[in-house]
């Protein structure tokens, strides 16, 4: 309760007249006096935010409380929570941390100085985004702390429209050419356009107007819009808006921008033009799912290879990960996310800022390009979107004082920290929580293959609990069989069946453990297709359903059905059943038959929250109704560190 009230209080405090770079929370903190010298971003852990009712120590005060520790900081807190696997979500030790450092303590003299300093830092950041190298940073804004707000407020609105205009312009200019020109010609054209734009931007900057369109804001990838621009814009916007409107604004910011759908015309044209892969023609497309991009499979690899040299600026590590997505070698939300982040890490290590550009701007666009390439290979999962958002916000927040190499190390360690805290440690916390729910003699059912659930089962087995696992699988997926094998080899007694037989086995089951790809803020669990059926049957048989999911996968979207947003798998995978030669009814179809037949291979479905008994997450065990609270606290936490 306390924590919640505090978060309310923040804007009010700010209204007193201190400079408020960001909406309620902790914009200035990264630069807050103490840690600034000693690698500031490291000192505050993303895991520490007082805002969610499931107590997490607030990042800003970590430096005060814990004396500016570095990456290791969050670990003790986590370890604590792990060692006392409190069943509920409330963890005393953490709450203590959060309580003894209420935001109010900030009101004081130091705030003034900090305000000034942070405004500098903040300004630099913002100018790094817009003014690039042309303006002498600091000199202008230090004079009055409040000016930047107004200037910036104007600015804030500009970049995006400008950018989209630029995109449109480019799109329209190159569209008619598309058919006729060769690839080389098109590239030349693009290059010249880019050069022209850069020049005009430089001019604009010189004249002091906020003209520069974020140069290469990935024109690549529309779906990416969801992850990229919103963050940037929301940060940018919130930084500049006056205090009075901040609350309002923040609320608006809360709304995730509408996702560009695949069938969006403007998007479609662009996507096709710049697609790295052959878009399979609308063969066999299911009417209901025309808004989703068709599945791309490994058969396009040769084509991709031939285009390799046109893929300018693709870092080999990113390229490799992309290919792994495409070939289906990498699957599972966590694995994909970690692989992506590590690839970015490598790319950042090898990155060097081109002349005439700033690291922040250029690297953001680079990352944007990488992301759009990855999306080409396979649509992003929600967790990856969140991770990218995190990374971009980190880049945007790099203090300009850092040299390039320092900035790069900072980013790399940020990524490491994200992987470690949000995924590895989070999983450990989850298994301790979940293991308390496994008793001797239980029959646990799991569907598909979730790495968290697998870890939970193995952990409980190590603890010496006696239980049986029912592994349920369904047709195009084979992960369940792999999970089964791993479990049996570890000595767990298992029952294997397929999804249709779920009603038959559910009589004996005492708990259902499910993994999730994402959890939306209305409590909907977005997970491997079939999960909803399992949860539904379990609900009908009065069996508790535990969904295990790391908090970084939570997302503020809301979704009611599984159709508006989903991912399509390979339709041909349906007609073949591995290991069953007798199932070949669909092998020799005539063209006329094919015309009428559509094969639908959905990858995900949305489980309504009423089927979920509890969500086990790194913040504790929560009911599905509490997801928005976590999402809220979490978003602040990782945007604002």
């Amino acid at each position: 309760m306390d924590a919640r009230r505090m978060s309310r209080a923040v804007p009010r405090v700010r209204q007193v007249g201190f400079f408020t770079p960001n909406t309620p929370a902790k914009q200035p903190q990264p630069q807050s006096a103490a840690p600034c010298s000693e690698s500031p971003p490291l000192s505050d852990s993303p895991a520490s935010n007082s805002l969610s009712p499931v107590m997490i120590p607030p990042p800003r005060h970590l430096s005060d409380n814990l004396g500016g520790r570095t990456a290791a900081v969050p670990v003790p807190g986590r370890e604590n929570s792990g060692e006392l696997p409190t069943v509920g979500s409330y963890n005393p030790s953490e709450s203590v941390l959060s309580l003894d450092s209420p935001p109010r303590s900030r009101i004081g003299d130091e705030e003034l100085s900090e305000g000034a300093e942070s405004s500098l830092g903040w300004y630099r950041r913002s100018d790094s985004a817009k003014f690039a190298s042309s303006l002498p940073s600091g000199g202008f804004n230090l004079s009055t702390a409040k000016h930047p707000e107004s200037v910036a407020a104007v600015e804030a609105k500009n970049p995006l429209p400008e950018q989209s205009e630029a995109q449109k312009e480019q799109a329209s200019s190159s569209k008619p050419l598309k058919a006729k020109t060769t690839k080389a010609e098109r590239r030349a054209l693009q290059e010249s356009q880019r050069a022209a734009k850069a020049a005009s931007r430089a001019e604009a900057n010189k004249s002091g107007t906020p003209g520069g369109a974020p140069s290469s804001k990935p024109m690549k990838q529309p779906p990416q819009k969801k992850d990229g621009p919103p963050v940037a814009s929301s940060i940018a916007a919130s930084e500049r808006i006056g205090v009075d409107r901040s609350v309002e604004k923040e609320r608006k910011k809360d709304l995730p921008p509408p996702r560009k759908q695949f069938d969006d015309e403007s998007r479609g044209g662009r996507a096709k033009r710049r697609s790295v892969l052959n878009q399979p023609e609308a063969r066999n497309r299911v009417e209901l799912f025309r808004h989703l991009p068709p599945h791309k499979n490994g058969t396009q690899l040769p084509y991709l290879g031939s285009k390799f040299f046109e893929l300018h600026e693709k870092h080999p590590a990113v390229y490799k990960v992309g290919l792994q997505y495409l070939a289906g070698d990498l699957s599972g939300g966590n694995a994909r996310c970690i692989a992506m982040l590590q690839a970015f890490q490598e790319a950042i290590r090898d990155y060097s800022t081109p002349p005439e550009k700033t690291l922040t701007r250029d690297l953001t666009s680079k990352i944007g390009g990488f992301v759009s390439f990855l999306i080409e290979c396979r649509p992003l999962s929600m967790s990856m979107g969140n991770a990218i958002r995190f990374l971009k916000s980190r880049i945007a927040r790099l203090p300009l004082t850092l040299s390039e190499s320092e900035a790069k190390t900072t980013l790399c360690s940020d990524i490491d920290r994200f992987i470690n805290e949000k995924i590895v440690l989070a999983d450990k916390v989850i298994l301790r929580h979940a293991a308390t729910k496994i008793r001797d003699g239980d029959v646990l059912l799991t569907y598909g293959s979730s790495c968290v659930v697998e870890m939970i089962l193995l952990y409980a087995h190590e603890l010496g609990k006696q239980f049986r696992v029912v592994v349920v699988n369904s047709h195009p997926m084979l992960e369940g069989q792999k999970l089964l094998r791993r479990l049996v080899v570890k000595g767990l007694s298992c029952t294997y069946t397929q999804l249709n037989a779920i009603s038959y086995v559910m009589h004996k089951v005492t708990r259902v453990f499910l993994g999730a790809s994402s959890i939306f803020s209305n409590g909907t669990v977005y997970s491997t297709v079939g999960t909803a059926s399992v949860a539904m049957v379990a609900h009908a048989f009065r069996v508790p359903v535990l969904v295990c999911c790391e908090a970084y996968k939570f997302h503020e979207r809301v979704q009611l059905d599984s159709i508006c947003f989903n991912e399509l798998g390979d339709p041909d995978a349906i007609s073949k059943v591995p290991g069953r030669v007798d199932v070949n009814y669909l092998d020799n179809l005539t063209d006329k038959q094919k015309e009428n037949l559509e094969l639908l291979n959905l990858k995900y479905d949305a489980t309504p929250s009423d089927y979920i008994s509890v969500i086990v997450t790194d913040y504790g065990m929560i009911p599905p109704t509490s997801v928005p609270v976590i999402v809220r606290g979490y978003r602040k936490e990782y945007l604002l560190i």
């Binding site: 294997y496 397929q498 037989a501 297709v529 559509e598």
Partner: protein, 417 residues
């Protein structure tokens, strides 16, 4: 009757080895077999119906024991028994008209056999009337003893045999057998044409632009959908593939061949898609007397999803699938486990399957049931060859097809076995 024996044994083997797929085929073959059994039965002078019933029952019990899960066998056996009783009864009533007076005395001769109070000819007539005709207000009022009388029809049949030591007896006996065989032929006819009768009703239930979901493959469903298609209704069908047999592929192929817009989905996507579906139409393996359905595995899940989204769940069932039994724990007792090889590749998992733990039991079990039980509350409508019915009405429909006697006797004998 060596040839009948051979036929019976052959059929028994097939049933035991589960060589016969589908309840319709089973029902038809059972009926044909019983017909030949009846025609081969030597008719005694007295109590012909009882002799027929006896021989049919003897074969029927063995058939049922051969595949207790295939309820269609039991259904057909009961239907045939019912036919024998009915035919006999109708002959009796015909005879009764002439032999009204002698009946009473003969009655007493035989009553010692079954400790029933003697029945007056009027009661017999009333009983026969009530079984042959639809219940009318008059019969209801008239027949206070009717409830007692109905179970005795067999004894009254026996009585009539006993009493009819008259000149027209031989012709009557031949007539009974003949009539029964006629009726069994009709039954076979019914079984093979029930698709058409059900399909005729399709247009009443499928409207333009409907989206229909089905799971697995059922000939009844195929005919039903095609009948609607022939009536120029255009609609779209989602077919869930129905693992582990993947009969949905077959159905999808049939449907596209006939020009229907078909989408094949995985079973796991049923929940995702059902919110866009207007109606679920499925076939059944058997329909129990309480309105519950024994259906291909996976349908309980579909029915639950349909209920969640308030989508009507319609079950198509020919009358041979109506089973007069009330299910007890049907998920297990009326189920059958198939080979694990359909789910797991033995080659890959053989080491796990006999992976002995300390107690020697394998660590890995594979469950592959064939059927699901869909409770009556999840079913919106049954469409049978006699029209659409509520699940709560099934018990009454079933009473039309089976005599209560067989229900009980069958149970007694099977439990005796």
């Amino acid at each position: 009757m060596p040839d009948t024996q051979a036929l019976v044994n052959d059929f028994l083997n097939k049933l035991k080895k589960r060589k016969i797929e589908g309840s319709q085929a089973t029902a038809k073959q059972t009926a044909e077999l019983l017909r030949s059994v009846i025609s081969q039965t030597r008719m005694p002078y007295t109590n012909q119906a009882a002799a027929l019933i006896h021989s049919v029952k003897a074969v029927g019990e063995r058939l049922i024991a051969a595949n207790p899960v295939e309820l269609a066998v039991g259904n057909v056996v009961r239907r045939v028994l019912h036919i024998v009783r009915e035919e006999d009864l109708s002959l009796t009533t015909a005879a009764m008209a002439g032999l009204n007076l002698s009946a009473e005395s003969d009655d007493e001769d035989d009553t010692d056999r079954d400790n029933h109070p003697a029945l007056s000819a009027a009661a017999i007539a009333a009983a026969s009337r009530s079984t042959l005709r639809p219940p009318s207000l008059q019969t209801l009022l008239e027949d206070v003893p009717d409830s007692a009388a109905v179970p005795h029809t067999s004894s009254s049949g026996g009585d009539s045999e006993g009493k009819s030591k008259s000149a027209d007896k031989s012709s009557r006996s031949r007539k009974l057998k003949h009539d029964v065989i006629e009726a069994v032929n009709e039954l076979i006819q019914d079984i093979s044409t029930c698709h058409e009768l059900i399909a005729e009703q399709a247009v009443e239930h499928i409207h333009q632009n409907e989206v229909i979901l089905t799971l697995g493959s059922s000939r009844t469903v195929l005919e039903f959908l095609c009948a609607a298609k022939e009536k120029k209704r255009s609609f779209r069908v989602f077919v869930a593939e129905g693992a582990p047999r993947y009969q949905g592929h077959l159905l999808a192929k049939e449907l596209v061949t006939r020009g229907l817009q078909t989408t094949l989905i995985t079973d796991s996507a049923v929940f995702a898609m059902i919110s866009r579906v207007n109606m679920v139409i499925v076939g059944a393996h058997a329909v129990m007397a309480n309105g519950g359905v024994i259906a291909p595995v996976g349908l309980n899940m579909v029915a639950l999803a349909a209920q969640k989204h308030a989508v009507p769940f319609v079950v198509l069932a020919g009358s041979h699938k109506l089973c007069p039994l009330y299910p007890h724990h049907p998920e297990v007792l009326l189920n059958e486990l198939r080979s694990p090889s359909e789910l797991l590749d033995f080659g890959e998992f053989s080491d796990c399957l006999d992976f002995g733990s300390g107690i020697g039991a394998p660590l890995l079990h594979v469950v592959n049931p064939t059927f699901d039980y869909v409770p009556p509350k999840l079913v919106s409508l049954f469409i049978t060859d006699t029209g659409g019915h509520n699940p709560s009405y099934m018990y009454r429909l079933i009473a039309d097809y089976y005599s209560a006697d067989d229900l009980v006797l069958e149970r007694r004998t099977t439990s005796g076995n």
